[in-house]
Symmetry: C2
Subunit: 380 residues, 2 copies
């Protein structure tokens, strides 16, 4: 028996349409067609979903959160269980963040230094120290297909000087992360552009990262309150300074409208808790805009959430039943709403990929946006 | 195109082994191999499970609770949505209880009379009146394959006179329920034996019901605190007075040991929230007894919950991962534990059915019980 040589990590640009890019990422754990949306599997599970059902929506990669996993069940334990993919029975690639973002948003008693960040767990108050080197080590233990450098997500708003200092710290950490990363065929390390809303800082950051050299480039520090217009403006002044032969990943974004706008500008990868978190509170994203299934107007409605969707929630159940499940706090309500939202996110990504390949991205994007603007078909 | 004539409701006794019975129930919505365990789908969902996954465990029928469904989403609404089976996308038969049991255990301000019971909803305090006729009417609206008569579940312990009065009220209600029931091919109405722990009352009740004539006979008022020995004794003095050509259903029972003991005595059908409710609190029933997956001893255990089980929880995930999910309050933890418990319940029912057919029920039952007595394989 001969072994297949391991796939090397790479990005193939298949087609462009304006700035929008249709591509394919090769990894040790399977391909990722881009533009791609990555469902978030915070603590080793995409909340409420069996992994094969996540895959069946079209998702090819899921994201895990280093902060959550290092605290519980613990990176060494995950490693003993064969890594994150084996533990959660996810067959495709996984991307893990560095832990830095959640240290800032969740942990108590954070103390930053040049070396790294010391914090207390939000779960049990235990003390931890995260450095570029330890973050990369943890992500190795998790078996991440795509590892992210440790960075500081600059708070918004930040004065220019604060944003510059923060970004330059992240750049030094990026270099240390690269140093600590163990290259393996088909695995990747991504750098993260910071610089707040300042064009010159974003450019400086993009150029600094490109000089270090990464397998892919993320844009961090957005969707933190600056608003969609400002986010798009920052993308417009950042993306030109990133290499075209590497994937670009907009972290923590976003709404369906954010995805369409960012794909239009040349972003290849996204992650966000929105489809899963919203699903658990009865919010659905549909071809006709947002729906709150808990609203009384759905209580007798025999129609599906989204008539054009073929997910189980839409193909087999009525709005009235979904309303009932969600009002009753039934687990199946969270399951079905999450399933639909992930399906819808994957569906619009697939639509956009096909449109870019056929040179009709603008028309497709306009049609998607027009659907939302009509409002729910039910509003009579 | 010619229409298939509707299946009539019936019970075929295929084999006996001692008192244990292997049979098959025919219904308008598909067959039920007996002895059978019916997972409970209280409010129109087996909590945490997709209906096709419930079916894949081997379950052929699920139970719905009239009390819950009449209050939310409401029987008329369920009817407009095509009935309970259509609403919840369950393709097999459903059995609904009469609502009486939950009125007693959940509702506020209950007032009993010869006519029926008046109560306030535990959800919103709204006032409702349930009579034998209205209970049957509600179950018709739900589209129940098997309808249960309204009865009073006699509290335990009850003095003989109280138990006698209560049972005789239930018998008068049984006659009214029969009168109200609309026979349709393949649909059934079951009577319910009451009489507390008194042999003579149980016999009187069984004979009264048989005289009225039902499609099946349930034994109610057990598993209410009398203990397993007493429950088995009551079964031994009740079952001989029930017709052998109709299914016998022990309501609200029970543990795996209860099921084995009751099948040995000639019971054909069971329902209980135990596998689903326990699953949501991290309790698993296995071939080696009960396991609390939240216990720290599982936190590094790469082995499955039950090595002989082929449910997804056991076939694809480690105890360590299940421990993590359950300790983290992840929905997937409840899903997988529930899935396993329902699978295990179905597996022991299937084992018992096969054993009865082959005349080796005693050996099979002894082997099942011996497995539990060994304790978890993990306890070292």
């Amino acid at each position: 028996m001969t072994e297949t040589p391991p796939t090397s990590f790479g990005y193939d640009l298949i087609a462009t349409d304006g700035h929008a890019r249709r591509g394919r990422i090769s990894t040790a754990h399977g391909p990722i067609d881009t533009p791609a949306f990555m469902p978030v599997g915070t603590a080793g599970t995409v909340k409420g979903m069996m992994p094969e059902n996540v895959a069946a929506t079209g998702a090819q990669i899921v994201l895990g959160n280093t902060y959550h996993l290092m605290l519980r069940p613990g990176a060494e334990r995950v490693e003993r269980l064969g890594g994150l993919r084996r533990m959660m029975d996810w067959h495709g690639p996984v991307l893990t963040d560095s832990g830095g973002f959640q240290v800032m948003s969740l942990a108590a008693l954070r103390r930053m230094s040049e070396d790294g960040v010391t914090f207390q767990s939000h779960l049990d108050g235990s003390r931890h120290h995260l450095t570029p080197e330890s973050s990369i080590g943890i992500q190795h233990a998790l078996g991440s297909t795509i590892t992210m450098v440790l960075d500081e997500c600059t708070a918004h708003p930040a004065p220019h000087e604060t944003a510059a200092d923060s970004m330059r710290l992240s750049m030094r950490w990026a270099a240390r992360s690269k140093e600590a990363f163990q290259p393996r065929p088909g695995f990747a390390l991504f750098g993260i552009v910071q610089g707040s809303v300042y064009d010159s800082l974003r450019r400086e950051s993009a150029e600094a990262l490109t000089a270090i050299g990464f397998d892919g480039y993320a844009i961090g520090g957005l969707a933190v309150g600056e608003g969609q217009d400002e986010m798009f403006r920052v993308l417009d002044c950042t993306l030109p300074f990133l290499p075209t032969d590497r994937p670009r990943y907009l972290m923590g974004v976003g709404t369906p409208a954010d995805l369409v706008g960012a794909v239009r500008r040349g972003v290849d990868m996204f992650d966000c808790v929105m489809p899963t978190r919203s699903g658990r509170t009865g919010q659905a994203f549909t071809r006709h805009g947002k729906i709150n299934i808990r609203n009384a107007r759905h209580q007798d409605d025999p129609r599906p959430l989204d008539a054009a969707c073929d997910c189980p929630a839409c193909a087999r159940f009525s709005r009235a039943y979904l309303h009932h499940l969600n009002r009753s706090g039934e687990i199946l309500g969270a399951i079905l709403m999450t399933w639909h939202n992930i399906s819808y996110y994957q569906d619009i990504m697939a639509e956009m990929r096909a449109a870019i390949g056929q040179g009709r991205f603008s028309e497709t994007a306009a049609a998607i946006e027009e659907g939302w603007s009509k409002g729910d078909i039910d509003r009579t």
